[in-house]
Assembly symmetry: C2
Homo-oligomer: 188 residues x 2
Amino acid sequence: MKTQTWNYPNIGINATILWFTGMSGAGKTTIAKRLKERLANKHNVPAVIIDGDELRRGICSDLGFSMKDRMENVRRAAEIAKLFSHMGYVAIVTLISPLDQHRMAAREICTGMNFLEIFIHCPLETCEQRDVKGLYERARAGEINDFTGIQSPFEFPDKPNVIISTHQQTVEESCSLLIGHLATVKII
Amino acid sequence: MKTQTWNYPNIGINATILWFTGMSGAGKTTIAKRLKERLANKHNVPAVIIDGDELRRGICSDLGFSMKDRMENVRRAAEIAKLFSHMGYVAIVTLISPLDQHRMAAREICTGMNFLEIFIHCPLETCEQRDVKGLYERARAGEINDFTGIQSPFEFPDKPNVIISTHQQTVEESCSLLIGHLATVKII
């Protein structure tokens, strides 16, 4: 039997949600992963990534890509983010959430918490050139319908808290910008 | 800026789900809370409670109590349990999950993990006498339909991994029994 006591992460961080919105291939997950590492290693801040693709394989596997289902997807992601943030984690949600109403709905669910809308921006052409998952090719070939940026709209956020331009900034630069912002608004 | 490094809970515990099934008022949440404390304080094992009532107020607020909705409720709880167990937490799910098919569905979603079905047993009469939330009274008065044990069935688990009888065992005794079992099966 171990004698050390487990310390839960509730280390004085206000409940915080970092909502990463942006098109497929913009770099949401890549930046989230590195940000999580840097928050833990250099700032002693525990974070968790709530990844849209993972949710789609799990709790949202019953949902499609209609606007109704996308909204439900957003709602569930926001509720899960709340569960984690109540435990003391900074919850980083990486979800295309293409419409203003999606981001507004998420913000409303997370009322009373720090909710930062982070626009992970990258021009469609660059996302399409990267096409890490081969989804743009499939969408152009008509194998996927309702793909954001091709057949389905992505509304640029009106007033995101932070804009990251991944065609101009490296992953490290992007994380530095985000961490700087978190410090400025006194979250870390 | 803090210099200490945050340590994530991945401390060598195999992914473990403790699925508490039992009627309303049987004591699922009470035992879960105390078990979580004892696991953290005496065994250095981080746990998280995924509480059916809380889910109903949040991510499952779109669901009712039809058999279809109860199954969807179970599915989402199991998927959330998976998310937490992947992070190194023992996930304690407290959910009536009245039918065998509910527990089997949860077990299947959690394939590849330690999944222990814990039957928090208490005779209906005793649950009804306790009636902490006043729900039995409302069910008897016809204000609630589909209430488990009154209008809706509760199937006793066939082969639960552990049975706790809360009309005969104290909370501490119940937790000791559970912790003993976790040690026996080498989870802690």
